[in-house]
């Protein structure tokens, strides 16, 4: 059990927060998306999303850049290499925590 608790303590807290986890999950599946798509898909308010994106960008997990689609400017977010690696490590760790604790059985129908 101690080892399990240690594993939980080693989870990346930056990703573990639900809103940031949602952002990482969406960007991991989509590839890249703009602010409006993330806001609608995740059900965020503007300020909330902006704050979480700033934290993820400061950590180097998310890249935010201005792009032009046609002649329309868009603020596009995507996971960086570091972000992808961190998300993969987080997913692996939390999955192993659930599996070793037996909590994964609850998810089975």
């Amino acid at each position: 059990m101690t080892q399990l608790i240690q594993e939980i303590a080693r989870l990346d807290r930056l990703i573990h927060e639900p809103a940031r986890l949602t952002i990482m999950l969406i960007l991991d599946g989509v590839g890249e998306a703009d602010f409006l798509y993330l806001q609608r898909e995740g059900g965020f308010t503007q300020g909330n999303l902006s704050g979480h994106l700033t934290k993820l960008e400061e950590a180097g997990y998310v890249a935010i850049e201005k792009k032009f689609k046609g002649k329309v400017p868009l603020t596009v977010c995507s996971l960086t290499g570091k972000g992808k690696a961190a998300f993969a490590a987080y997913s692996q760790r939390i999955l192993s925590v659930f599996q070793s604790s037996g909590a994964a059985d609850y998810a089975r129908p």
Binding site: L25, I26, L27, D28, G29, V30, G31, E32, A33, D34, F35, L36, Y37, L38, Q39, R40, E41, Q46, L49, S50, L53, I64, K69, G70, K71, V72, P73, L74, T75, V76, C77
Partner: protein
């Protein structure tokens, strides 16, 4: 006319793939492209010298290749003005899954369950195209459209049934019924071989137009040109 498959796909990648079709523009553009190809073939049949007349499939084919090659650019242009300011931008889906290191030795490989990959656009247009090539065959003559349309409708419905952009059964039925209807309507011989292409194009464009109108109603024009900035 389409199922709201966005809400049925839980993974973000599949939702993004469905999102590409949410505004109906892919179907609308493909449908209009098929109609234009059909019109090009018709004009060729009407005005080309008699010795060249039987090569009417050449402008149809060239038009199809030109539109198919540029359809992504056309759609990006339209979406950047219509969709992205309203509901945001998500990376357009790939048309085939990314190559995997493990080679699956199977004729029916499993579809990716969570990738941002789309199949239906390619499927729909290619299926229509192959059936219409079949209908250009001269011996079928008056029976071309009545035979081809139900087969085309059934195939379109079947191949898109589990895609990110499935067609409703009644919509496919409408397409299928255009075939028997053409048994009663005596089309001019000039139009007969191109009728399936024009009908399928009109059907696809109508699907897209209905979805497009529904999308515009649900998402009115935003005030800012760039949506919301981070």
């Amino acid at each position: 006319m389409k199922n709201d498959s966005v809400s049925l796909n839980p993974s973000p990648g599949r939702r993004a793939a469905s999102y590409w079709f949410i505004d109906g523009l892919p179907d609308l553009v493909s449908g209009l492209a098929l109609i234009l190809c059909g019109i090009a073939g018709l004009l060729w049949r009407m005005y080309a010298p008699s010795s060249w007349n039987r090569y009417y499939f050449v402008p149809v084919g060239l038009g199809f290749i030109a539109v198919f090659w540029n359809s992504r650019a056309i759609l990006e242009f339209l979406k950047s003005r219509v969709t992205y300011p309203r509901t945001g931008y998500a990376q357009p889906p790939d048309e085939s899954p990314a190559p995997r290191p493990l080679i699956t030795l199977s004729l029916n490989p499993r579809r990716p369950v969570d990738d941002n990959v789309a199949y239906s656009r390619t499927w729909a247009v290619m299926v229509i195209w192959w059936y219409c090539i079949f209908s250009l065959d001269a011996p079928l003559e008056r029976w071309a459209a009545p035979v081809v349309m139900p087969l085309l409708a059934a195939t379109l419905y079947a191949v898109n049934r589990k895609s990110e952009s499935p067609y409703q059964w009644w919509s496919a039925l409408i397409l299928a019924l255009t075939g028997p209807v053409l048994l009663w309507v005596d089309l001019p011989p000039l139009l007969r071989p191109l009728a399936p292409l024009l009908l399928a194009g009109a059907w696809l464009a109508a699907q897209g137009a209905c979805t497009f109108v529904g999308y515009l109603r649900a998402n009115p024009c935003p005030q800012a040109t760039e949506g919301v900035r981070a």
